[in-house]
């Protein structure tokens, strides 16, 4: 038997007046995946997440969470989904623990859920802030409290919309360690982020969205392999030989950068340099990262 996908999105369209925010998005995310949704501002990432969460209605198309349609069967779908909103929103009337208890209660969970709330507080380093009013928390603490709020009802699928925007490095690493742990324990994680290196190190699969369409959907590895070109940075004593000029990509300071179609070209370049009697003082091989892939894909779809 096939397992039910964590998220299934079929032909989802959404427009706001004349603006087509989403134009026929199809996407399937399997249970247990750590998935990144990337795209420039205005690509439709948040619209897609809002529709998935029931905060907006799809213009057309279907979305389901673990097999439950987000419109027709919204109660079940929402119970299975936790969403961390992008903005730092909070209820100024309550402390962290009260707020988490209420949030779990909205999903039908009662006192039996309290140990889980303690676990979330502990995991996010909020235990000593449990009785602080939300107003009194720092920005990073508020961000953690938001994540705790999304997790209060123990959802098997967690969506994080730009969770690390404006969060310092230490907190960011702590958050990712916690989210990684959730993922290892079976929670499906879907993430939108502007930090490409986060997506690259954390996510097994990536979808890139541009102007309401998915322009790339593949494993992170495959996407990285897609950009074969590596770069060779050289510090030379002497000018670059004529034969190597076509490979030149740029120059900065003492360094000159060459494009490599394949790693084997390194040998050829070094041979040419030796033939021209140019001494290599330093050499770096630079691999493409997700940011290059992203820029490449976004550029090709202009």
């Amino acid at each position: 038997m096939m397992t039910i996908p964590a998220i299934k999105i079929e032909q989802v369209h959404k427009s706001f007046g004349k603006l087509n925010a989403l134009r026929g998005v199809d996407l399937q995310i399997e249970q247990g995946e750590f998935f990144a949704l990337l795209g420039p501002n205005g690509a439709g990432k948040s619209t897609l997440i809002n529709i998935l969460a029931g905060l907006m209605r799809p213009g057309s198309g279907h979305l389901s969470v673990l097999g439950h349609d987000v419109v027709a069967d919204y109660r079940k779908a929402r119970r299975l989904l936790g969403v961390v909103p992008q903005e730092l929103v909070f209820d100024p009337f309550f402390n962290v623990r009260e707020m988490l208890r209420f949030q779990a209660g909205y999903f039908g969970r009662g006192p039996e859920n309290d140990p889980w709330i303690d676990e979330v507080l502990e995991g996010l380093g909020l235990t000593d802030k449990a009785y602080s009013n939300m107003r009194a928390l720092s920005g990073g603490m508020k961000r953690r409290a938001l994540i705790a709020q999304a997790l209060a009802h123990k959802p098997p699928v967690l969506v994080l919309d730009e969770p690390t925007a404006g969060v310092d490095v230490e907190v960011r690493q702590m958050l990712w360690a916690f989210i990684n742990r959730l993922n290892k324990a079976g929670t499906t994680i879907i993430l939108t982020t502007h930090y490409m290196e986060e997506a690259q190190t954390l996510c097994s699969r990536v979808a890139m969205l541009k102007q309401g369409e998915i322009v790339a959907l593949d494993s992170t590895r495959n996407l990285l392999n897609r950009l074969q070109t590596k770069q060779l940075r050289l510090k030379l004593k002497g000018p670059l030989p004529q034969s190597l000029l076509p490979l030149k990509r740029g120059e900065s300071g003492d360094y000159v950068t060459l494009n490599l179609a394949a790693t084997t070209e390194v040998e050829y370049i070094l041979a040419e340099l030796r033939a021209a009697n140019v001494v290599v003082e330093d050499l770096q091989l630079i691999e493409a990262d997700l940011e290059d892939v992203f820029l490449d894909i976004m550029g090709n779809h202009r």
Binding site: G54, L55, R57, Y74, R79, D91, F93, E98, F102, Q103
Partner: protein, 251 residues
């Protein structure tokens, strides 16, 4: 069910945590009205035979406080969570629009009745009020707070900023409550204003509520209760339609 109950409980807590502002302050205001108006007018006015003006005033003030605070509870809670943005955490839950409505409505009724009852209990120290028809008193208290709770939900959803809500409150709710016969019997008004007052649903709430205490009023209490109940049903249907459509809440 637990989702709805949790939301109700949260709404109660929300006003109770700031009860100085949400309960004590309106009680204080009502007492000041009572003090000033009864001092100024008690010796000159007797609206119903055998009923002092001070006694006449108390049910009106109780009901006015009840109405204003039922309205304030749902409307200010909604506008606050909209402006702060934390309403998203409510919209993400499996709570249905009907449960949403009932939870906000019930919490508004609790606040309105709590304030009304407090005003009544405090005035009991120096004003003696009969209780001729307690069931009418209860009926109008429930209907009045429900109607205003629902109206508060509409206002909370439709307005986007605090000043818009304040306009709604000061230019619609306040005049309707003040001009509903809290401080006078509409029989004392010139004929034109007398007629206009009859289109004010608040007039029927105040009049019927007062009938419950004294056994006398300007119109039949059964008619009043029907009008108030009908108003409540109409407003509720409209509110539920708004919530169902997701107007200004879900895009």
């Amino acid at each position: 069910m637990r989702g709805m109950y949790t939301l109700f409980k949260k709404e109660i807590w929300r006003f109770w945590k700031v009860s100085f502002q949400t309960v004590a302050a309106p009680v204080m205001t009502a007492l000041l009205y009572l003090l000033i108006f009864s001092h100024a007018l008690a010796t000159r006015l007797e609206v119903y035979p055998g009923v002092s003006y001070t006694a006449f005033l108390v049910p009106g003030l109780v009901m006015m406080s009840l109405l204003q605070n039922s309205f304030a509870n749902s409307s200010s809670s909604l506008i606050q969570s909209k402006v702060m943005g934390n309403i998203v955490f409510l919209l993400l839950t499996p709570i249905s629009y009907l449960e949403f409505f009932l939870a906000f409505l019930a919490a508004s009724m609790v606040r309105g009745i709590a304030v009304g009852l407090s005003v009544y209990l405090v005035t009991m120290f120096w004003v003696h009020l009969p209780l001729v028809h307690p069931w009418y008193i209860l009926g109008f208290a429930l209907m009045g707070s429900a109607m205003m709770g629902a109206m508060g939900i509409v206002a909370g959803i439709c307005t986007e900023k605090f000043d818009q809500l304040a306009a709604f409150q000061n230019f619609i709710i306040m005049p309707l409550t003040f001009l509903s016969g809290v401080f006078y019997s509409i029989h004392s008004l010139p004929p034109l204003w007398h007629q206009i007052s009859r289109f004010n649903p608040f007039f029927y709430i105040i009049d019927g509520f007062r009938y419950g205490f004294f056994g006398q009023g300007d119109v039949s209490p059964a008619l009043s209760l029907s009008i108030v109940a009908l108003s409540f049903v109409l407003i509720s249907v409209a509110t539920l339609q708004l919530l169902k459509s997701g107007y200004k809440l879900r895009g």
